[in-house]
């Protein structure tokens, strides 16, 4: 603990002198959930994960029903499989909930989440090409997957984005080297 603190202060001190700031590498994802004019609206289940070129996945965030009538409940796990690609890649071999990954469903709007390299759930990332995948599935609604490719680590601060057509709005990925 102390040594890490020391190291980071050292880094900070160094950073003050010349070139790169020693902020940890970060990956920030902004997910837009569109407002939908439908007779019956339920907030969608949403999963965020990245895949490397070998197809290995890192589970970043899953927003789903964690409660029933105000109590913690596993009931909402019944529909996790509706995020079909996430279920195939990650969900079926994962015991949910996962700390730092599971979260409640979110209302329409833009939601930003930041993941830090070296820390759960992102962990240590090898250099290479990746794809950020966001999948949304809505009860009595539709399902959509949006992918944003990126290269790690970013050489400079970079923004990439892709747009969904129905269930997802803009998915924006910002990389901070």
């Amino acid at each position: 603990m102390r040594s890490r603190l020391l190291v980071s202060s050292l880094f900070t001190a160094m950073a003050l002198i010349p070139v790169t700031p020693a902020i940890a590498d970060e990956l920030t994802v902004s997910v837009e959930l569109p407002v939908l004019e439908v007779a019956e609206y339920h907030e969608p289940y949403v999963a965020l994960w990245i895949e490397n070129e070998k197809g290995e996945s890192t589970n970043l965030a899953v927003w789903y029903q964690l409660e029933e009538r105000g109590q913690k409940s596993d009931k909402g796990e019944e529909w996790l499989k509706d995020m079909r690609q996430w279920w195939r890649r990650i969900g079926r071999d994962t015991d949910m909930p996962v700390d730092g990954v599971s979260g409640a469903t979110r209302a329409p709007g833009k939601h930003t989440v930041t993941f830090t390299e070296g820390k759960a759930p992102l962990g240590k990332l090898k250099n290479g090409n990746y794809v950020l995948i966001v999948e949304a599935a809505r009860e009595v609604g539709g399902r959509e997957v949006v992918k944003v490719p990126f290269t790690w680590p970013a050489k400079a601060a970079a923004n990439q984005s892709a747009k969904g057509s129905k269930e997802l709005g803009e998915v924006k990925l910002s990389l901070t080297p």
Partner: protein
């Protein structure tokens, strides 16, 4: 007692379509709707689920299901089984013509809030309404008191031989669909017309949602949304062959006292054959 209350008595035994009908869709799915055999049978699935025709949530009870033969006789439901996610039953079709397989209920329902803001409803969730209790159980005046006269109906049609019209006549109770185009004569690419009636009169502005089966194998609902016109009519052109689930909802303020709101829901399953 008036006719309205009698209906309630008659239908009290009928299945309780979930009061939280939202998010849960009840459906009947016949194994076939057009039959040519001299010893014709159909097998019917009855369930409640979000994904149309995928039984993955709850079975529908079969007790209230009424099969009407072309000559008006009521036929028994046979070999009924209720499993975890669906009920299944058989219907034998001894006569030529069109059969109606339906479940319907109607009655009074009330919602209100107490002075402390507690939400109340009558009948309570999952309880049967005894109309005689209305005066005793429902306050005359309360915050947000709404008394509604409701009707629910779900049906499907099957035909042995040539289609006939006798079972398509209106009962003049609640929200009903009167086929202008015969329900067992539907083909992809062709337009079909239906009329909605509420208590026997054209129902204007009925909100109708039509969803093709096989929802698991696509990424959207693919719902067709229409509203009935001044005569209660709708017209639908079927985009492809398959089984379709039609759901309709209606509401107005022309209720019989003590109700202030009249509401009706209707659901049907139609088979559309390839052109």
């Amino acid at each position: 007692m008036n006719h309205f209350f009698k209906t309630t008595f008659c239908t009290a035994l009928v299945i309780c379509l979930p009061l939280t009908a939202q998010a849960h869709r009840a459906w009947l799915l016949p194994s076939a709707t057009v039959l040519s055999s001299d010893d014709a049978w159909v097998s019917i699935d009855a369930a409640v689920s979000n994904d149309i025709f995928h039984a993955d949530h709850a079975p529908m009870r079969t007790e209230g299901i009424v099969v009407t033969a072309p000559d008006g006789a009521t036929l028994p439901v046979q070999n009924a089984v209720t499993g975890k996610f669906r009920s299944v039953f058989d219907v034998q079709l001894p006569q030529k013509g069109t059969y109606k397989i339906a479940v319907a209920s109607s009655g009074l329902m009330a919602r209100w809030e107490t002075e402390t803001g507690e939400r109340k409803m009558w009948p309570g969730r999952g309880e049967k309404a005894n109309p005689a209790d209305f005066d005793k159980m429902v306050p005359k005046q309360a915050k947000n008191l709404e008394v509604s006269q409701f009707s629910r109906r779900m049906e499907t049609f099957v035909t042995s031989g040539s289609p006939t019209e006798s079972v398509l006549k209106a009962t003049k109770q609640g929200l009903e669909l009167i086929p202008v185009t015969h329900p067992n004569d539907l083909f992809s690419g062709e337009a079909a017309s239906f009329q909605f009636l509420i208590d026997g009169k054209p129902a204007v502005g009925v909100k109708v949602t039509i969803i093709p089966g096989g929802m698991r194998y696509r990424n959207e609902q693919a719902a067709i949304e229409v509203e009935s016109d001044k005569k209660g009519n709708i017209s639908v052109t079927w985009p492809q062959a398959g089984m379709y689930w039609l759901n309709a909802n209606y509401r107005d303020e022309k209720a019989k006292k003590p109700a202030t709101v009249r509401s009706g829901s209707y659901a049907a399953t139609f088979e559309v054959l390839p052109e």
